[in-house]
Assembly symmetry: D2
Homo-oligomer: 111 residues x 4
């Protein structure tokens, strides 16, 4: 059940990052810093080989309120995650699709 | 890749519930209500067949502050989750083990 | 500085509830349960005399995704909060105004 | 009611930052980055003149799990916040006291 366990670990990380960080105040100027903070927090977790987080600048701009900031929403996130578990590599991620923040498995292969 | 996808979906739900609800103020009197609210929110998500959440009363009692409440911590949670994905049933969950809130896959089988 | 301290306590509770619960999956069927869970968690905190939470059903309906649920957003929340601090009563709350989830102080008076 | 409103705004920011970021995975190596990310997100909010966040390294070290990380807890946080509202300056903050993450008002004065 190693392949399933590896995929399970990928799911945990995506669900966790989403619900930890959605709601965080951000602006165009703080996108990079928040992306890095999310990446650092995900990278610490077990079996994470690498993670890349991008926050959609266009969507942030659209959502800015009169005070010049907005809150992080799921559909702003684009994530590429690589999990390494017991000789397996899982590629998974997250991106907006038809207005829904879709999480997906891309590939599982032996290292 | 259906088995892996099914396991991935289980992981998403556990990671999400953890990071959504950890930090919620609770007391001995509100344990049941919070368990139900967590179950209801998880049940709405795609592919969730059922979910059972228990919050450890003993740990809540240990953590109560002088105001008579504490905050939900991962190690207080015991979760049984059933995912149904494309003819497959996944059983997964979460419980404290050696002080760590462990998430685990129990079984994947055809419905 | 009692009046200011009483108002400060009201602010803490509103900021906390917002960032604890925004992002929670909900549907039309789980609105009542989530309102109660939020009220119970706020009521536990120091100096809270009472709290009433309403989640806007119309906005929930508008946001439902293809799976029949959405996530709690700040603008869906309407909150009436009463703080009692050292002989003072503070009335404060939160509601959507021009698309922004506004938190406001209504009244501070002696009990 | 300007002084009370200014204090209310300080409370909102402290309650919000607490419940947004508690639960975030962190290690000794990511403390600085997380402090900065929290400061940046608070600084965006209305009436924030400045904010300084420190995460207690000793407590992080004590809580590290076998994977070398832990989760942000309220008692790890030390925050100094300055709010400017309508000609008033409020100094407020948060620090651990007797095991409880205490939020406090320090001073309100005219600018």
């Amino acid at each position: 059940m190693d392949r399933e366990r590896a995929a399970f670990e990928a799911g945990i990380k995506l669900g966790a990052l989403y619900h930890q960080f959605v709601g965080t105040p951000l602006s165009l100027d703080t996108i990079r810093g928040l992306e890095r903070a999310i990446e650092e927090s995900v990278s610490l977790q077990p079996y994470v080989e690498s993670v890349k987080v991008r926050i959609d600048e266009g969507r942030v701009r659209e959502r800015l309120n009169k005070f010049g900031y907005c809150e992080l929403e799921g559909v702003m996130l684009e994530v590429d995650l690589v999990i390494r578990y017991d000789g397996l590599i899982v590629r998974a991620g997250m991106r907006e699709e038809n207005g829904y923040p879709l999480m997906f498995l891309k590939e599982i292969r032996e290292k």
